[in-house]
């Protein structure tokens, strides 16, 4: 692969960061509109109850203008997870609920002339609950004593399999079984949820949403309000982090409804507690894994039983379960494997996308189990993984798209070397003192590149070269903070041979962006949208060259183009923009193309993390002393952005392993309703992350690139847990490994 890139891989600075530092970037709550109403959702205090509301006292509060409840809103059911009309889901959400299904469910909207008035209105609202027995946790759900939706709490179940695991277990030398749990994780984007909408002069509903999929927001609003798709304009605005949390519309339907009803701009915001309780979370899981293998370390059979807590609405109950299952078949070569996934309704916050989408959960337990298998035969855990890891070009055993240039072995081999794994493993115990135990751990993981093989995965791009030498790329992307815009700019810059500074890529806006089938989710943006930008850039550059030959009577081979200028030996340099001028005046045309791009595949990405921990035997606190994260990402488009993903992903993954959990009390209320109780990793607890990139090129990806943002949150956590288990010679499988759990493990030693 030609690696003489001008822009690809380079540490180019993003366009938006200075304005963010200066406080000039406008996030949702920074936008004010003339005549705007402020809104707040009254969220249910009860986990499972029919609600009746008396609006009177709230309406009496000075400045409160409207109170809306279930009685006032259209009754069209929808599923906030459904990003296109064809996605198979259960539609069980209302704009405002009659029956609350979790503490935090939307039951009323209060509007007023000021925030203060609305807050008073919320306090004054009289709500009475006709309570049903709450279903908290998977075990309770399985009893089916109290039913949340339909006739059973089982929301979804699916078996995926290859070979014949049951009989293959009989041929194995050893079988190792583990069972563990993973927590509900709060995305913890530092910006809380919010939405603003207004009616424009053509009676279009305009929605300003910090979101991930403008076309999904449009679809859900159209459905909920029965309003024409073509009259709903959703604009993605600057977002203060998402991580999947702002993927599903939470406030958009009710906000759009309020603008339609009142004719006024409406802004609804949530505070931290409301966002924790009333938005979405990473699904918690309970996973049982049984692995059969031989003396030589070869895995022969595996059985995985995964139970998923889907929360109060259906949302992603099917999608996340399937996502977990599919990943189990794409990391190791296992001829006989069965995955049995079930997800349940519970009266807790509904599940949603959360960085890694099921991969962090399944690998959390499976990578502990892999370590235990290696331990059983006294084999080094890196070696055990290498014996079983997939190879480039392998097929997916259950018929999903091929794995592509799967470089997990490189991750493990090069990572072990860079980490000095073998030596450290030998000597780590020498560091132990009576107070501290040291351990090292490794974990591997995989994730995807979009929806190909499961759902429509295509996008449309429109590119023009404008007279002032600017390239304008219209594509439905959403920068969630990762640098997606810059990624697209660098890909286009490489093709155009023009500085990224000359390239504008406006973000998702359903009135500007051509249709995109799946949005900024599923790790598809670099691979699919980036591929589309590369393709369309090539098409328009060809068009530019052809037009040049017509205008200047030369042949294609004579043309030189570079740094935004085009010329031949005999003709002076003109800018691309000047050429666009000439094309218009002389050829009655313009330099513009529209290209539809279908994803060419869905290869896997891989990662491995190597970690050293220091465990305080007295307090149960864990320090991550060292971490090396290795990523097989094909090709970095921008190294700084990639490292930023790896470091941030590690922060989330270590948090899930050690401290993060949305905890529910038996009565369905949330214990961890703010950052004083919900602990994300802060600066002193965060290790310096070393990253190593395997850049061997993915044939279908733009300049060989594939995804990285989500896979970064998969392997650090399991490596930390394996290191703790190494340090304490224990087998912690329940997450997070809190000090209490650690102390229990120390005492059980």
């Amino acid at each position: 692969m030609n690696k003489n890139f001008r822009y690809i891989g380079k540490r180019i600075e993003r366009d938006d960061s200075l304005d963010k530092a200066r406080g000039k970037a406008l996030y949702l709550d920074d936008i004010e509109k003339n005549n705007m109403l402020h809104g707040k959702i009254y969220m249910s205090n009860k986990p499972h109850a029919f609600v009746s509301i008396n609006k009177e006292s709230a309406l009496k509060v000075e400045g409160v203008t409207h109170v809306f409840t279930y009685e006032d809103v259209p009754k069209n059911l929808y599923c906030s997870h459904q990003w296109f009309p064809g996605a198979d889901v259960v539609e069980d959400e209302n704009i405002l609920q009659k029956k609350a299904r979790f503490v935090g469910d939307r039951i009323a909207l209060i509007l007023g002339e000021s925030k203060e008035a609305v807050n008073k209105g919320i306090k004054a609202l009289e709500v009475s609950y006709d309570e049903l027995e709450p279903v908290i946790g998977i075990d309770e759900a399985k009893k089916d004593r109290s039913i949340i939706n339909g006739d059973t709490n089982l929301a979804f179940s699916k078996i995926l399999s290859c070979g014949d695991a049951d009989s293959a277990f009989n041929e194995c030398d050893y079988i190792i079984e583990d069972e563990g749990s993973t927590p509900k994780v709060h995305h913890s984007a530092i910006e809380n949820h919010g939405c603003l909408s207004e009616m424009d002069e053509f009676n279009n509903i305009v929605v300003y949403a910090p979101c991930q999929v403008v076309f999904q927001v449009r679809h859900i609003i159209a459905k909920a309000l029965d309003y024409p798709y073509s009259k709903i304009r959703v604009k993605k605005i600057t977002i203060g982090g998402s991580f999947g949390g702002k993927g599903m519309p939470i406030l958009e339907t009710v906000c759009a409804f309020a603008s339609l009803k009142t004719g006024r701009p409406v802004k609804i915001t949530m505070n931290r507690s409301e966002t924790i309780m009333g938005s979405r979370s990473r699904n918690s899981t309970r996973i049982k894994i049984k692995t059969g293998f031989n003396k030589d370390g070869k895995i022969i059979a595996r059985k995985i039983d995964a139970e998923v807590d889907g929360g109060g609405h259906f949302t992603n109950a099917a999608a996340v379960t399937m996502a977990m299952g599919k990943k189990a078949f794409r990391l190791y070569k296992i001829k006989n494997q069965v995955f049995n996934g079930k997800s349940y309704y519970t009266n807790t916050v509904p599940g949603g996308a959360c960085r890694g989408y099921g991969s962090p959960q399944i690998h959390a337990i499976s990578e502990i189990n892999i370590d235990n298998c290696a331990k059983k035969i006294n084999m080094d855990p890196v070696k055990f993984r290498l014996i079983n890891a997939v190879d480039p070009g392998d097929k997916d055993p259950i018929g999903a798209p091929e794995l592509g240039n799967a470089r997990i072995k490189d991750c493990l081999i090069q990572g072990a070397e860079a980490f000095n794994w073998v030596e450290r493993k030998k000597h780590i115990k020498r560091k132990n003192t009576s107070r501290y135990s040291y351990g090292i751990g490794v974990a591997a993981g995989t994730h995807g590149n979009g929806y190909k093989g499961a759902f429509p995965d295509f996008t449309n791009v429109n590119i023009s070269i404008l007279p002032n030498n600017r390239i304008w790329i219209k594509i439905g992307i959403h920068d969630l903070g990762c640098g997606t815009v810059l990624t697209m700019q660098q890909i286009a810059a490489e093709v155009f041979k023009i500085s990224t500074k000359n390239i504008d890529v406006p973000q998702g806006d359903t009135f500007i962006s051509p249709y995109d089938s799946a949005g900024t989710q599923a790790s598809r943006v670099t691979f699919v949208c980036g591929g589309a930008v590369k393709k369309a850039s090539e098409v328009i550059v060809n068009k530019m060259l052809e037009n040049y030959t017509k205008l200047f009577g030369c042949s294609l081979e004579d043309i030189i183009y570079e740094d935004g200028y085009i010329w031949t030996k005999n003709n002076d340099k003109i800018s691309y923009g000047d050429l666009a001028d000439l094309v218009e005046s002389k050829l009655e045309s313009n330099l513009e193309v529209s290209v539809k791009y279908n994803s060419p595949g869905n290869p896997a990405v891989y990662a491995a993390s190597f970690v050293e921990v220091k465990v305080d035997n007295y307090s149960g606190l864990v320090e991550v002393e060292d971490i090396l994260a290795v990523h097989d990402l094909g090709q970095a488009i921008n190294k700084t952005l990639v490292e930023g993903q790896i470091e941030g992903g590690a922060q989330m993954s270590i948090g899930m392993a050690l401290s993060e959990e949305i905890e529910y009390r038996k009565d369905g209320t949330v214990k961890t309703d703010n950052f004083s109780k919900y602990h994300i990793i802060n600066s002193p607890s965060m290790p310096q992350v070393k990253s190593l990139l395997i850049e061997d090129g993915e044939p279908g990806g733009p300049f060989g690139a594939k995804s990285v943002g989500e896979i970064t949150a998969v392997t650090p956590g399991p490596a930390v847990i394996n290191a703790i288990n190494d340090a304490l010679s224990c087998n912690i499988c329940d997450h997070p490994a809190t000090p209490e759990r650690i102390i229990k493990a120390v005492l059980n030693k």
């Binding site: 993003r14 963010k20 913890s188 530092i190 990762c482 941030g648 310096q688 992350v689």
Partner: protein
Amino acid sequence: MEIKATINGDEIVKNINPNKRLVDFLRDDMNLKSVKEGCSEGECGACTVLLDKKAVTSCTLFAGQIDGCEITTVEGLEKTGELELIMKSFSKNGAIQCGFCTPGMIMSAKALFYKNSNPSKDEIIKAIEGNLCRCTGYNKIVKSIEEVRDGIEHE
């Protein structure tokens, strides 16, 4: 109540509701939108501003408490030219992703430098322990602040 305070270098005399939270006063009354709100209880640091050159969380203070004091936000640093080096360092090093934590981070770093012009890496890490960032894993933020300490200038 009437308060007198210096906000970003300008003296103001204003009649305010002393029980208004400082974050609301700065954002809504003074239009200083760099001051972000992430948790409303002093835990995330997004609302960090300087009160007499010390970092405070403006969501846990009342506007009445700034009477006679000096308040600085990034808008103020920009006016005096003090933002330049630090914002460029953050930008160059990739310390800004979604950017929601950034103004608060910068104010905490600034407060540190007022106290100690040559802080160690550990002191830098400690100075931002109350500023949560979900995007960056802090590594690049710490590096940016170290480069400011070392006077490294970026284009």
